[in-house]
């Protein structure tokens, strides 16, 4: 069992009004009774890139699923000032683009085009705009020529990119990525990192890939057993070996 550490916060202001993502004292237990989140406080400013790390079962995926109301409503979360309650779901789902841990969880339409078009279609956009958005999103992940392919016949890395495109086509303000690099071969992983680096939007990514964290995310949040145990500059936290070790982590240079 991990050693309990004093929480290390260094860039979070105690009040974070007006920030794009505010989580205050979020608690959540699965129906089985397991308390997966035990009082999460997290604020993210617009345009910030934050990595979420922590051991298996820390609650990273659980937290991410909360951010657009998929695990139910919660007044503890404000997205652009809106609490995550059913009335706000449609708006919040347009603001927060969630890329699941497994791309197979994300794709449910026969062809790549249909899947990327689902979000824009559901938003009631004009046909013209839908086509434009789909093309743009696919171009961004270098999958344009796969438009008519069946999602189902793609390789893991290609699926991952399409999954990201489905979310990009909705033009979210916040991109939430669960393990974006898992299962990708080194080349695909590198091109994903390069692509994400060009995006100017707010980003929150859960990952075990410490090099990805160092390369792409200036800020890092460590979770363990449903709590945030550290939140600060990646460079500073990565240097704190005992902190990393206490939570099952290690810097990529270890």
């Amino acid at each position: 069992m991990p050693v309990k550490h004093q929480a290390v916060h260094d860039i979070r202001t105690p009040l974070c009004e007006g920030e794009i993502l505010q989580v205050q004292d979020l608690e959540f237990a699965y129906p089985s009774g397991y308390a997966a989140l035990r009082g999460i406080d997290l604020c993210i400013r617009e345009g910030e890139r934050v990595a979420l790390v922590g051991p298996n079962g820390a609650g990273k995926s659980t937290l991410m699923l909360h951010l657009n109301g998929i695990l139910g409503q919660s007044k503890a979360i404000l997205i652009a000032g809106l609490p995550v309650i059913p009335e706000n779901y449609p708006v919040i789902r347009a603001l927060v683009g969630l890329v699941f841990q497994n791309p197979d969880d994300q794709l449910f339409s026969p062809t790549v085009f249909e899947d990327v078009a689902f979000g824009p279609l559901h938003m009631g956009l004009s046909e013209e705009e839908i086509y434009q958005r789909v093309e743009e999103a696919l171009a961004a992940v270098q999958m344009s020529e796969f438009e008519d392919h069946l999602c189902y016949h793609l390789s893991m890395g290609q699926k991952k990119r399409v999954a990201i495109a489905t979310v990009l086509a909705m033009r979210p303000k916040i991109l939430v990525l669960d393990e974006p690099s898992a299962g990708l071969d080194p080349r695909a992983r590198r091109s994903l990192i390069q692509f994400l680096d060009t995006l100017p939007i707010t980003m929150l990514a859960a990952t075990h890939d410490m090099r990805l964290v160092e390369d792409l995310f200036p800020r890092m949040v460590i979770m363990d057993e449903g709590e945030i145990v550290a939140d600060g500059l990646t460079s500073r936290l990565m240097a704190n070996d005992s902190l990393l070790k206490a939570h099952g982590l290690e810097s990529s240079r270890a």
Partner: protein, 264 residues
């Protein structure tokens, strides 16, 4: 509803929990059978059957509320049975003129209606008690011992194994759709009914292919761990003398109930 709903078994150490699954299945089915056989309006014997149920419930240690809370699943069907009230076979009790049709509740109809509801309510509770005190794999095993076709019980055993996995898959598909069902502009959204139904159909197709392929992979995983056509469990499944005793006592009681019900 969450997947936890699949775990209907509530672990316990009671007499009923320890009873052999075969004995429990036979008693439960006989109880339901007996209810169906009792004539309408035999309130006394219905009450006797209820006592039997209460006793079983008490012995199971689950508490009264447990089965009671779950016993209303059949309620929507009461609506269907409601029309029995207007059976033409009894004395009319009133005349309701609805304008387009006239309804006449009769005494026989009312008696039938309540008898149906009581039968159903008692039977459902017995079934609940059965699955709450018997792990599902043991239940399947019991059915196998009771000469249910092996093909069928094996299919059911597999169904149970995969149920968790596939409903999880379905849940993830729903999540995926939900998380992109967005609207920012305040305009009309959600697409047409036709389109929504079609998307759901695609999801069903998707789920089918995934289930099919996953079944292939899991089957292979089972093969690679020594599966050879028959699922084994750690439970010995022996009918002890005690199981026989309870079985015979219960059946005797139910016979008695029948006797009372028909001489009334």
């Amino acid at each position: 509803m969450h997947v936890d709903a699949f775990n209907q078994y509530h672990a316990g150490e009671s007499l009923i929990h320890h009873l052999d699954a075969r004995a429990k299945v036979v008693v439960a089915i006989s109880f339901i059978f007996s209810n169906a056989l009792l004539p309408d309006g035999s309130w006394v014997t219905f009450t006797l059957a209820w006592m039997f149920l209460l006793l079983a419930n008490e012995l199971s240690g689950l508490g009264l509320g447990f089965t009671l809370k779950r016993s209303f699943v059949a309620l929507p069907f009461a609506l269907v049975a409601g029309s029995a009230i207007f059976s033409p076979l009894g004395e009319p009790l009133a005349v309701w003129d609805l304008g387009f049709m006239t309804l006449i509740p009769t005494d026989a109809g009312v008696r039938r209606f309540f008898s149906v509801l009581i039968r159903s309510w008692l039977s459902v509770q017995m079934a609940i008690l059965l699955v709450a005190t018997t792990p599902f794999p043991d239940l399947i095993h019991a059915l196998e011992h009771l000469r249910a076709p092996r093909v069928l019980t094996t299919i059911i055993a597999f169904l149970y194994r995969y149920l968790f996995i596939l409903t999880d898959e379905a849940r993830r598909l729903l999540r995926a759709r939900e998380s992109r069902s967005a609207n920012l502009s305040g305009r009309k959204h959600g697409g047409t009914l036709w389109w929504r139904a079609k998307v759901t159909g695609n999801m069903v197709g998707q789920l089918f292919i995934r289930s099919y392929e996953r079944s292939d992979r899991i089957y292979k995983a089972m093969l690679s761990r020594g599966y050879a056509g028959h699922l084994r469990t750690l439970n010995p499944h022996i009918m002890r003398r005690f199981d026989w005793l309870i079985l015979i006592l219960s059946l005797t009681f139910l016979l008695l109930v029948q006797f009372l019900g028909w001489i009334q």
